[in-house]
Amino acid sequence: MGKKKGHNKPQPANSPIAPQAVPETPEPLDRFQKLNAIAEQLKSFSPKKGQATPPSTPEGSNSAPAAALPLATSTPKAQEKADKRPAKAKGKPEDLNDGDGKSRADIENERKAKKLEKQMKKEAATAKKKADAAAGNAEKPPKAPAKEAPANKGQKDAPKTPQQPSKPALKKHFASSDSSDSFNMTANGSKNVSFKEKSNLKVRFDIQPSNQYDLTERPAIRVSSYFVHATPHNVHPAFRRLAAKCEFKKLNGVNELLLAFHKTLIEFVEDYNPRPDLPFSESISLDLQPQLCCLSDNGVHPFPQAVGNLIRLFKKQIHELDNTKEICDLKTYLKEWIENSAYYNFDLAEKAIVEFTISKLKSMAHRRILTYSRCPIVEKIILTAAEQFNDLHVYIVDDPNNGSRGKTMLESLSEASIPCTYGHINSIGYLVHQASVVLLGCSAILNTGRVVALRGSSLLALSAQAVNIPVLVAAKTCTFVDKVRLDEHLSTALLREPIETIPEDLVTALVTDLRIVPPSSAPAVLKAKQLGYDN
């Protein structure tokens, strides 16, 4: 394997990445050679400070423009590379040029020469491989499948996904050449670098504690739902707006997402014109499918549980529509149903939960509440409680890696003149001794009573149990699901926040809008809810 470690390719000042180099080569390249060219570009492009970068890509951002490759600075491997060339890293673009004394044309020529060199080497290698095929030379085969697989899969149609180079993912996809993500990679063309060049990367991160919970990193489930092509024609802009909002983290948490989803559904129903040949309910359910597929990437990424509940109920309502009625009547009926659902599950449910919790807080001697990050229901509870009780004190534990949403809560509580204490998750040991009750929010409740909540919540529950203080979880009945297990490490379709499950024996009570329930009674609540829907 050729080691190109020693080669320091200086960069021209405004070198954009990949696209420019490729069209200049005159030879008719087959796709694979093209990729090599791009790879060469990528390898030689080093992130130096002060160097002009594509302005549209802010560092560390999740959303990247499709065409230009985002910066390699966002990945640790590239950082390593940058570190290896400290002198150059500090240099400015002008310094580089001066230092090496090469002009742009010279550099281009150099590159071409290198490329040809490489090509020749490869041809030799493949020839050699064929010769050694019988002997089963261990070195060659790993390279070959990598070459062939992307060549094949590059032909496939790739759905539009946000693209980020993640070099650890490269090795992973090398190992699993069947992974559906690999064809995403090759469509960009940037990531599937032949591993000859990448051998200088020593460190392997298979599980990276990344803050960016992006779709391309996680292994995707191939759900056997049918593939519906989501085109601009059949996806309503409201859904795409919703997806964009989630992408840009405008919607934090399941609550806001649910509300936004309700509004989206209302817009969809309002603008919907049924197909002439089908009854209304069939036609709307047919046309709902591409919307959902667009959001969930054709079932590859599951919806968050509460959203899934809503969709299921909505579909049920559509099924039960009486098709003999007027279309506008049906539409009004559906819209009313959605509005009612929003009203019951938000305004009324939250009021009920707040009331129940306050009745519990009333009987406490010291009202010192410990909570985690920001849950809108918990915030409401505390604000309402502050009106009734004078001795309230709130301890907010926050996770600085996940957006520090606790700070927003801190601000709103301080505005209401509630004494608060704020700490990061590593101060939980200290804070839990000060508190007298733990109040958590959740995004779903499973059948067994396990609570699905933001990552970090179980630490609060565990510490609370150790010091013997009760743990209350504010759970709306619409978030109860009939599932026993959740694949926690899989990212969900719209909401990318990391979640975890809290075991049911750590939770003292679930405060729902029906009543206060022990976690073991979750199936009873589910049954009650379903009966309510059946009526």
């Binding site: 406490m364 001697a365 003292t508 206060i516 022990p518 009674s521 009873a524």
Partner: protein, 340 residues
């Protein structure tokens, strides 16, 4: 022409029932008192019907009668009467948890009349329905102790050492029944201060020939290693699956759990209460202190010794009730069924 019956004081009735038969279940006494209240309002109605026939009714009497009947001529009025009666009975110095739960369940059961009968709009018929259902409920409850005793029998083998706390009529009946069926076992009873009620329990047990030992409350930790099972009664069973029982129960339960001894609770279904305490301080005061104490020392309760404590569900193994044998987690579901 008969005088209208004097209004029955529910509390007096309740107390008199218990005085007549000290072994009677407290919940049962409360329910019977309520039924009497119900019946007396019914009789006033029939009184009115009789008197209007008679033409020579003095005006005073007529007014009195009509005023009585006006009070109880609507379902709402009846419900109000009954809830007043319940409030009155809660002012007892006996276990108010039992009274509250029993009354609430009784009222719910009685008023669960089918829609067709309500449409009739004949108030007397409605009231008769109430009384009928009330009687059904009472019959069921009278049997509850024996049902529990039967359920408990398989748990007692010969040469078993049983630990129990204070004086519980249900536990007593169950142990007597097991003895009557030929089991030989040894019962340890705690003295259970401040009222020394364990002594009464020990005497009753000895009278029926069961080998009994009275131990100090503080000797529970010492004796636990030689005990096989622990049995409690309950004054109230909470929605969490935990129980309210005589003070000291929690300590014994924790000790049993630490030494892996099974803990069984015997409670009639009328003792299921719709409350969800999170810890000791979250338990309502009306369950912890007697009514008289609450009245006289409203603000200085800190100095008062509570008479009961709350045992959380994690220290209990099974609850044996007349509705069946449950784990603490299942009690919540049962309660939902009972109260809806």
């Amino acid at each position: 022409m008969t005088d209208p019956k004097p209004e029955i004081s529910a509390l007096k009735m309740f107390e008199s029932l218990l005085d007549k038969d000290p072994e009677k279940s407290m919940g049962l006494a409360a329910i019977e008192a309520l039924l009497e209240v119900l019946k007396t309002s019914t009789e006033n109605i029939s009184l009115k019907l009789n008197s209007t026939n008679s033409s020579s009714l003095s005006e005073n009497l007529q007014d009195k009668v009509t005023s009585l009947t006006d009070k109880t001529s609507t379902v709402q009025g009846l419900t109000k009467d009954l809830s007043n009666a319940v409030d009155e009975m809660m002012r007892t110095d006996r276990s108010s948890a039992t009274v509250q739960s029993a009354c609430e369940l009784f009222l719910r059961f009685s008023s669960l009349i089918s829609q067709e009968k309500l449409i009739d709009a004949n108030f007397e018929a409605v009231k008769c329905e109430y009384v009928k259902r009330g009687n059904v409920f009472i019959k069921r409850i009278e049997k509850s102790r024996s049902i529990i005793a039967k359920c408990f029998r398989p748990f007692i083998r010969s040469n078993l050492k049983v630990l129990t706390h204070s004086y519980s009529k249900v536990v007593l009946e169950s142990l007597l029944e097991s003895k009557a069926h030929g089991c030989v076992f040894h019962v340890f009873v705690t003295e259970s201060q401040p009222d020394n009620s364990g002594r009464r329990m020990a005497e009753k047990l000895r009278q029926s020939g069961i080998q009994t030992t009275l131990i100090l409350d503080s000797a529970v930790g010492y004796i636990m290693e030689s005990i096989d099972i622990v049995v409690f009664g309950a004054e109230g069973v909470m929605e969490t699956g935990g129980i309210i029982n005589k003070i000291g129960t929690l300590g014994i339960a924790i000790c049993a759990k630490a030494m892996n001894k099974p803990v069984y609770v015997m409670a009639e279904s009328i003792k299921f209460i719709k409350e969800y305490p999170l810890n000791q301080s979250d338990t309502p005061n009306k369950f912890k202190y007697r009514y008289s104490t609450l009245e006289s020392k409203k603000d200085a309760l800190d100095d008062e010794h509570p008479l009961t404590d709350y045992t959380p569900p994690q220290y209990l193994n099974l609850l044996i009730t007349d509705l069946g044998i449950f784990t603490p987690a299942a009690v919540g579901d049962e309660l939902i069924k009972l109260y809806t």
